[in-house]
């Protein structure tokens, strides 16, 4: 609607009540804080038609009023005090009071935050070659201006160290480069999309990232967790990814406690993922994936490359696919442990050949994949897929189709401990890889 208004045409959206805060946040993010909209009680998409009609009829006066007269300016002022003060009996008490305040304003992740004092933030900024006021990017989905200082403040709150700053800065920049409308719709989706960060290169050992059982709590994953948390706090307070405002999940996911992982380059039979993206072995990088689920694919007996990959290919077939465009296939991020990657590489499969094999064998029932979106009416069926309408339910279930359109839709990162348990993530749009070294102190 904002794009329509920007073209000179009065426009209003109809939004459901749960999305009122989202509409406020979006109008600010996309440059028209005074945009008007009309609120109905319930989300339309699974509502009975007669209720859809009646709840729209109830707001018709408001729709007309907003199209024919200026409803007055919406209060778009935001509090941007540069600092705040807390008094306590001692430092610990003051930190707890700060945490109460930050929790009330939803500035954290629900866990205790470290205080971003001037001294701590200045020390954090020393971890990068960039000046405090340097603008790294506008961070989606709210397009807050990611200055080095704001990144450093959030990094301090997460418990990060100055040497983590180059990775955190590169991660923030990577998010701003995600394509496919990621900033405007995907991140604000009612599905639980969340970023996952993969680090490659010398920085992984220097900082102590764990490339083995890399996801989860504990001492071994301290760096993975803290750097991921720093990025997540940036995402919240710079990207405005606040739950109920610009993060509109229906249920949510623990993947939003974002993890930063390192590829297990030493135990991989192939060049690194960063190499696949055009970087040299002595360059450090961060790759950002948007994931939308997670599945453990077990293999309890295969030891041949084809056996292991056929199991893995089957694991890639879960979920749905779109019939909105000519393609509509999905993408998969495969975190492949050394005990799966090793035998595949040993039998002579390059990574590209493994991607091709998995893509070819990840085949499933088209009828099941598109069941979530009934074909009747004006559903999201592109011209390319119109022929599906002529098939019976049984015939539709019999149609076998690859879930991925091309091998490049399958990203392989070698990571994990010594067992044949692979993690497969639905992902998309394509990952973004950013070099870390340019942000390191000179």
């Amino acid at each position: 609607m904002i794009e329509i208004e920007k073209a000179g045409i009065p426009a209003i959206p109809i939004v459901s009540g749960r999305f009122n805060d989202d509409a406020i946040a979006s109008s600010r993010a996309f440059g028209m804080p005074d945009l008007q909209w009309v609120v109905v009680p319930r989300i339309y998409r699974n509502l009975e038609p007669d209720i859809s009609e009646s709840q729209t009829a109830e707001v018709i006066d408001e729709i007309i009023a907003n199209l024919t007269s200026h409803a007055g300016e919406r209060d778009s002022a935001l509090d941007h005090e540069s600092s705040s003060r807390y008094e306590g009996e001692d430092r610990y008490d003051a930190v707890l009071k700060m945490n109460d305040d930050f929790l009330r304003d939803d500035l954290g992740d629900g866990l205790l935050l470290h205080p971003p004092t001037d001294e701590a933030v200045s020390a954090m900024i020393e971890g990068t070659s960039l000046d405090a006021n340097f603008e790294v990017c506008d961070m989606p989905p709210g397009f807050g201006i990611a200055t080095v200082e704001k990144i450093a403040i959030n990094a301090v709150m997460a418990g990060a160290k100055p040497e983590h700053m180059p990775v955190i800065i590169a991660s923030v920049k990577a998010l701003s480069m995600i394509g496919g409308g990621g900033g405007k719709s995907l991140l604000m989706s009612t599905s639980p999309q969340a970023p996952l960060l993969i680090v490659n290169g010398p920085v992984t050992k220097e900082l102590g990232f764990n490339p083995r059982s890399a996801i989860g709590p504990g001492r071994d994953n301290h760096v993975n967790t803290i750097v991921g948390r720093a990025f997540a706090l940036c995402f919240r307070n710079i990207g405005y990814w606040y739950p109920g405002k610009m993060d509109m999940d229906t249920i949510g996911t623990t993947r939003k406690f974002i993890q930063c992982l390192a590829e297990n380059e030493e135990m991989s039979p192939w060049p690194s993922f960063a190499h696949d993206r055009g970087f040299k072995p002595d360059e450090s990088t961060v790759s950002l994936f948007i994931t939308d689920g997670e599945l453990d694919v077990q293999d309890q007996g295969n030891h041949t490359a084809e056996g292991l990959m056929k199991t893995l290919a089957y694991g890639c077939t879960f979920g749905t696919r779109s019939i909105q465009g000519e393609g509509g296939g999905v993408q998969r991020l495969i975190l492949m442990p050394p005990d799966v990657a090793g035998p595949i590489g040993k039998e002579g499969f390059s990574k590209q050949e493994a991607m091709e094999f998995i893509t070819k064998h990840a085949v499933g029932s088209l009828g099941k994949m598109i069941r979530y979106m009934p074909l009747e009416g004006e559903a999201r069926v592109s011209e390319h897929w119109e022929w599906l309408r002529s098939l019976t339910e049984e015939r539709l279930l019999d149609v076998q189709i690859p879930v991925m359109d091309k091998p490049e839709d399958c990203s392989i990162v070698v990571l994990g401990a010594d067992r044949a348990k692979t993690a497969v993530f639905p992902t998309g749009p394509a990952p973004v890889t950013v070099g870390v070294d340019e942000f390191r102190p000179g």
């Binding site: 000179g8 109809i14 749960r18 996309f30 005074d34 339309y44 699974n46 201006i145 409308g181």
Partner: protein
């Protein structure tokens, strides 16, 4: 007593700094074309068609034009067609 001073972690939004106002509204919808821009999500079409029908009942010579964007945001060519052919626009994503 201990005094703790901490910095604000929240960034300024580019869209607020560079904000632009909404457009002037017509006094009436009589004789105008109302564009209905649908994201393709189930139920949003019912909302828009209901709004269009009720507006036609209340104003004279209103033309209703329905645009199926088939996605959110709508593809550029659909949005542009809607802009070119409409005097005012109502949108719905069904959320």
């Amino acid at each position: 007593m201990h005094l703790l001073e901490v910095k604000n972690p929240v960034a300024q939004q580019r869209g607020v700094i560079n904000s632009i106002p909404t457009n002037p509204r017509p006094e009436s919808l009589d004789g105008l074309t109302v564009g209905l821009l649908w994201s393709g999500t189930h139920g949003g079409d019912i909302a828009l068609n209901t709004a269009g029908r009720l507006i036609q009942e209340r104003f004279k010579d209103v033309t209703i034009k329905f645009y199926n964007g088939n996605n959110y945001p709508a593809p550029d060519h659909i949005r542009q067609q809607c802009i070119d052919e409409s005097d005012v626009v109502i949108g719905a994503t069904a959320d």
